[in-house]
Structures are given as structure tokens and as C-alpha cells.
């Protein structure tokens, strides 16, 4: 019979081992990404899957996020007689925080879950073993194109999210609540600096790595059978989302 202390120790060791394996996985992906040949077609296919196919969900969530920001921002700012700053509030919220975070969460939900499930199914049906047996490196074939595609697609989706979100705030603030269009945009231009945009861009880059890294890892080391794939897909989505939010805090405290 094991003592409670032993049980805690075993869990702690398993967690540390898991974190080590995840780090080694990312290191391995980076190593293979640096070694030629990189098959461009495979990367483009993943950019299409992660990026292009996520555009509709990004457009939809961005417009409503911007509209909510416009609505909430307007009523809050009105208490201080500062409605003119609505454009600034919406733009800074989106560019610094909500754009990168929401885009990453949407990519996790749409493409990340699918990636974890696809690679997980490949694992349980021996397709990854088949790649290895053919002397095709599964890391280079399955993981590297997805991580590179994430690094390219997530910042682009974030840029779309920011622009569409600002337009959503404009629809509510200007068209619905009557702020002048000039005020909305001129205040925004005065307040938003290049460092804000750079910060948001750096965040989205790192989120692109986090989402593709976690989701490919969870799929790659999936458990047995359909239940294993379900579990790894759920874990991929939960862990990616949590890591995005945790990492966002550290990035914010460093960048702004």
C-alpha cells in the first residue's frame, strides 16, 4: 500500500516528466524545422487549414467582440463624459489583448482540436508507425508544417480580428450611438502607437506556437482507442486555452 506522500510524489514526478516531454517535443520540432528540405506545399496546405478555413469564425467573433466593446465602452466612458475616447478604448483593447487572445482561442477551437484528433487517429491506426517504417520522419512530416503554419496564420488572423473588431466598435459607437466618425478614428490614431501593434503581433506569434505545439503534442502522444483520441483532443483544447491566457499575462507584464 502506498502512502499519501508517495502518491503525491508520483503525481508530481509524472507532471514534471510530462512537462519535460512537451519541452523536448517543441525542441525537436524546432530542430527539424531548421533542417532542409522544408516542403512548402505541406506548409501552405496547413496555412490553408489553420488560417483560411478559420477566417469565417474570426470574422464573426471579431465583429461581435468589437460591437460589445463599443457598447460597454460607450456606457462606461459616458459616466466620465469621455465618449470621444471610445475609438481609442476599442482599438487598444483589441490590438493589445483581445485580438491576439481571441484569435488564438478561435484557432484552438477550430483547427487545434481537429489537429489533435487527426494526429491522434493517425497514431491509433498505426499511420504514424507506417511513416516511421517508411523512414519518413513523423515530426518533420506532421508537426513541423503545422507549427510553421501556426506562426504564420495566427498573426494574420489576429490582424483581421483587430480590423474587423474596430469596425464592429465603429458600427455601434458611430452608427448606433451617434459618436462622430472623425472623433472615433482620430482619437484612435492619436493613442495607438507602433509599440502596441508590435506587442500584439509578438503575442500572436507566440500563441501560434503554443496552440500548434500543444495540439500536435497531445495528438502525437494520444492514448488507446477512440477514448484516447477524445481525451487527448479535450486536453489539447483545454491546455492550449489555459496556456494562451497564462502566457498572455506574462507577455503583457513584459511588453506594456
Amino acid at each position: 500500500m502506498t502512502s499519501p506522500l508517495e502518491a503525491v510524489g508520483r503525481v508530481a514526478l509524472a507532471q514534471v516528466q510530462g512537462m519535460g516531454r512537451m519541452t523536448m517535443f517543441l525542441g525537436s520540432a524546432c530542430f527539424w524545422a531548421c533542417l532542409p528540405p522544408l516542403k512548402l506545399r505541406r506548409i501552405v496546405r496547413q496555412i490553408h487549414f489553420i488560417g483560411v478555413k478559420s477566417v469565417s469564425v474570426i470574422l464573426l467573433t471579431a465583429i461581435f467582440t468589437g460591437m460589445v466593446l463599443g457598447l460597454q465602452g460607450y456606457y462606461t466612458l459616458r459616466k466620465f463624459g469621455s465618449e470621444a475616447l471610445l475609438g481609442t478604448a476599442v482599438a487598444l483593447s483589441l490590438i493589445r489583448e483581445l485580438g491576439p487572445v481571441m484569435a488564438a482561442l478561435m484557432v484552438t477551437a477550430r483547427a487545434g482540436s481537429a489537429t489533435a484528433a487527426e494526429i491522434g487517429i493517425m497514431r491509433i491506426t498505426e499511420q504514424i508507425d507506417a511513416l516511421t517504417a517508411m523512414a519518413v520522419n513523423p515530426m518533420k512530416y506532421l508537426v513541423v508544417p503545422r507549427v510553421i503554419a501556426g506562426v504564420i496564420a495566427v498573426p494574420l488572423l489576429t490582424a483581421i480580428f483587430d480590423v474587423v473588431g474596430i469596425y464592429g466598435g465603429y458600427l455601434v459607437g458611430v452608427k448606433l450611438l451617434g459618436i462622430s466618425s472623425g472623433t472615433y478614428f482620430s482619437e484612435m490614431r492619436n493613442a495607438v502607437e507602433m509599440s502596441d501593434i508590435n506587442g500584439g503581433f509578438l503575442k500572436s506569434l507566440s500563441f501560434g506556437i503554443i496552440v500548434t505545439w500543444v495540439c500536435t503534442y497531445k495528438g502525437y502522444y494520444t492514448g488507446h482507442g477512440a477514448e484516447g483520441v477524445v481525451k487527448s483532443t479535450t486536453e489539447a483544447v483545454v491546455l492550449s486555452s489555459v496556456l494562451v491566457l497564462v502566457w498572455d499575462y506574462f507577455m503583457t507584464s513584459l511588453l506594456f
Binding site: E118, I121, M122, T125, E126, Q127, D129, A130, T132, A133, M134, A135, V136, Y141
Partner: protein, 256 residues
């Protein structure tokens, strides 16, 4: 030539291979028979280093796989074609692309040459008109044939068949066995067939090895196996419920 020397492999507390010594003759069809769960698939997965031994040696044409990594290991793997138990066809690709895959990844052949060779291999397994279909659209027997076409694509010197007839009806079992025999005559590879199709496997194999309790109990021609006085061999061949073999997957011998 392939050789296993005192091969041991355990998974946790479960000892699967307990000192395997076996030589696979060059250019012949060798069948490895044994109960379900006796470690036959584990044994042949050592040949392409999908599983690494705890101790002992796996020698392929004199090269000890345990000592090989990276490109040197890939060179050995390229000698093999593997037909996995479930086929392990890439379900996102058509049959044609599945067969062409190893050629595209591992050779510098022109696309026209790849197309010619993939079509020839599909013809050789009787799937000439099925190249445009996806694995999900095929029956179990057709999947096995397609997997054989893929295994044949690179003209490998050795082909591993991991239970190629599991889940097929007796007519299809004979048809797949005939296909293996025909392909062996036509392409001249060394074949290692994991099977528990008794007595059908004796019709195609030149050498048969019985794996039980983690060791090779008997190895020889089908005639030697069929006339063996070893009680384990006799019980396995006759399928009797009384004897040293306990029924059930991965069972251990009842003798001490």
C-alpha cells in the same frame, strides 16, 4: 538475412519476449505463428525499430539495429515494406496517393515514373481501377491489398506482414495468401508473415516459427511443424483446449 539474438522485451511488469533466437532465411516466406497476444507483432516491430529491445540484438544484413540512429537507421528501414494489421493506409489520401507516397517521399523519381509504378503496383494486387478511392470507401480485403501495393511500391528486399488476414472471411484469407505468394514469386522479396491462420499459412510459408511464452518453441519447415511431437506445437496446430497452452490472449503455459 535477419537474425534475432536473445531478444528480451517487457512492457512494465508484462514480459512479452523472453529470449528470442531466430534466423529468418533470405528470399523465403517465414511465418511466425502463435496465440493472440503472444508478442508476434511486437517481435516484427523490432525489425524496423518501431520498438527497441530491452536486451538482445536484432541483426539485418549484419547491421545491429540497436546501434543505429538517424540516417543509418533510415537506410535499413528503406529495405523494408510493412503491411500493418489494420492496413495503416493514410485515410486523407486516395489509394493512388497512398501507393505513390513512399516514392514521392523517399525517391527522386519524376511524377510520371511514380504514376507508372503506383499504377503497376495497384494492378499487381487487383486494384487497377480503384486508385481514386479513399481507404474509407474500401472493404477490409481491399484495404489489405492496397496496403500490400504500398508495401511493394519501393521494391523492398523484405516485407513484413502483420496479420494480413485478420478479420477476413476464409475465401479472402486464401485470396490474400495467394496474393502474397504471387507477389513473392514476382518480386522475390524476403517475407515475414505474422499469422494465426492454421493450417492455411502452411501452404505459403517455407519456414514456420511458433512463438509461445516469449520464446520460439519450434522452428522449421511446415512439415516439421505439422509432425512435431512438442505438446505446445501440437496443441496449437490442433486447436485443442487441453494441453500446456491456456486459452486466452497472452496466456502463459500451464507447465511450470
Amino acid at each position: 538475412m535477419i537474425e534475432f539474438v536473445d531478444l528480451h522485451k517487457s512492457f512494465g511488469q508484462q514480459r512479452v519476449l523472453n529470449g528470442i533466437n531466430l534466423t529468418i532465411p533470405h528470399g523465403q516466406i517465414t511465418a511466425i505463428i502463435g496465440q493472440s497476444g503472444s508478442g508476434k507483432s511486437v517481435l516484427i516491430k523490432h525489425l524496423v525499430a518501431l520498438i527497441r529491445p530491452d536486451s538482445g540484438q536484432v541483426l539485418v544484413d549484419g547491421a545491429e539495429l540497436g546501434q543505429l540512429h538517424g540516417k543509418a537507421l533510415d537506410l535499413v528501414r528503406e529495405k523494408f515494406g510493412v503491411l500493418f494489421q489494420g492496413g495503416a493506409l493514410f485515410d486523407s489520401m486516395t489509394l493512388f496517393d497512398n501507393v505513390a507516397f513512399p516514392l514521392r517521399e523517399k525517391t527522386r523519381l519524376a511524377e510520371t515514373e511514380i504514376a507508372t509504378r503506383a499504377t503497376q503496383r495497384l494492378e499487381a494486387v487487383g486494384l487497377a481501377d480503384m486508385g481514386h478511392k479513399y481507404p474509407a470507401e474500401l472493404s477490409g480485403g481491399m484495404k489489405k491489398r492496397a496496403a500490400l501495393a504500398r508495401a511493394l511500391a519501393q521494391d523492398p528486399a523484405i516485407i513484413l506482414f502483420d496479420e494480413p488476414t485478420t478479420g477476413l472471411d476464409p475465401i479472402l484469407v486464401n485470396s490474400i495468401h495467394r496474393l502474397i505468394l504471387d507477389a513473392h514469386k514476382r518480386f522475390g522479396f524476403t517475407a515475414v508473415v505474422v499469422s494465426h491462420e492454421i493450417p492455411e499459412i502452411f501452404d505459403i510459408a517455407q519456414t514456420v516459427a511458433l512463438l509461445h511464452d516469449g520464446v520460439i518453441v519450434e522452428c522449421g519447415s511446415p512439415e516439421v511443424i505439422m509432425t512435431s511431437a512438442n505438446p505446445v506445437v501440437r496443441q496449437f496446430i490442433t486447436g485443442g483446449s487441453h494441453g500446456p497452452i491456456r486459452p486466452g490472449p497472452g496466456s502463459q503455459s500451464s507447465s511450470p
